[in-house]
Symmetry: C2
Subunit: 234 residues, 2 copies
């Protein structure tokens, strides 16, 4: 389990390596963060990112994937190393460095039972409570990272369902950049990249008229990547 691993190891004379996951989702126009309330000492009752000690025989990256899977049931989603948190005094209990990772998940697809069972919950990114240790810093760093990353990688598609409308995509970018975008310019830009396949279907959930749905075209995206391109949108 995410918390017990760590706790069962407490000793004062050695270094522990852990990983903590900053898990983002997107829903109803808001960027969300998955956190959980600790049920065991130390720090019982405090909000925390989800993490675990890295096992001796386990790749660090695999540990992060394991954590994500344990709490959301998901694998194969976008996940990347953020950075390490290695201050000697970051954890008052024992010497532990954390290699933080961040993940972008489709908020419709996670395993709700599992999340509930672990006492985890989604928080709007503006309403994240105080977290244990340096976890708020991790969230801040991860946010900056995805903001920057969105400029050269189409990060948004990881967070949306398979079929999505252009206004939906725009709301996502607005949530990440924290600014309003011009609908005409936005549409022009994303369509010009040639990585969207328009479907016949419409999404009628947000308007009477309905917005056409699109799918992300991974083949064209690969081509684009090879050429090098700029996804800057503002």
């Amino acid at each position: 389990m995410e918390e017990t691993d760590k706790d069962s190891y407490i000793q004062g004379d050695r270094m522990y390596v852990a990983t903590d996951c900053v898990i983002f989702g997107f829903d109803e126009g808001n960027l969300k963060l998955l956190i959980f309330k600790r049920r065991v000492e130390p720090l019982r009752g405090e909000w925390s990112l989800i993490g675990s000690v890295v096992r001796l025989e386990e790749d660090v990256q695999d540990a992060a994937k394991r954590v994500l899977k344990e709490i959301t049931g998901l694998d194969g989603v976008f996940m990347e190393e953020l950075k390490s948190y290695g201050k000697a005094d970051r954890d008052p209990g024992y010497r532990c460095i954390s290699i933080a990772h961040y993940a972008l998940i489709r908020i419709g697809e996670y395993d709700k039972e599992l999340v509930k069972k672990h006492g985890a919950d989604w928080y709007d990114i503006d309403e994240v409570p105080q977290l244990v240790l340096d976890h708020n810093q991790m969230v801040k760093d991860a946010l900056e990272r995805i903001k920057r990353k969105a400029r050269y990688k189409p990060i948004g598609f990881e967070l949306l369902p398979e079929k999505f409308s252009i206004p939906q995509l725009q709301r996502l970018y607005e949530a990440v950049y924290r600014e309003q975008l011009d609908a005409r310019n936005f549409r022009k830009k994303v369509i010009s990249l040639n990585v969207l396949n328009k479907l016949e279907e419409k999404d009628k959930s947000t308007s009477k008229r309905g917005a056409f749905l699109y799918k992300f075209n991974y083949v064209n995206y690969q081509k684009l990547l090879r050429q090098g391109f700029n996804f800057e949108i503002s």
Copy 2:
């Protein structure tokens, strides 16, 4: 010492945390890398990045700084975390993850005695020999990082002496990007950023006419950072 720390700790039942430093310099139009030849087992005689185990009471970042200082005598130079290398089998001897860092140093300023004493040497970035473990991968990753970083931060100034000419700066960018740049456009671009103070002096080392020297204006650079800007040069 950079190697002995690690070696004196060998045990099979625990996780070690190390740091390895990718140290770049720039000289005579070439980007260079500082590496050293191991003098003790294991892997005696092999080329390696410079690294050390992170001490129990030491911040990871401080460990990286310590390593850099031990071998070059420098501190206060630009140094940043690259990423972690956490494969369970990356080091056949024992379980050790490495938090790699990269540094950009002024090649005229390091302590030559110290470097020599450690068996270290500068290699042209195109002529780096095979290194131990995953160190070649670290170098490759660091190179990609500085290439990308150069697009939004004026990374070049860390590698040049305090006073430098515009052609010198251009050669540095050419070495990092691995492509020829147009001298007129390059000059136009860097001057337009308003972060260079022109001096009266000239550098006559590369031409008879001499090229005016400049200093980097950190105050204006801070202003620029606040506005957000694009250092893209090509």
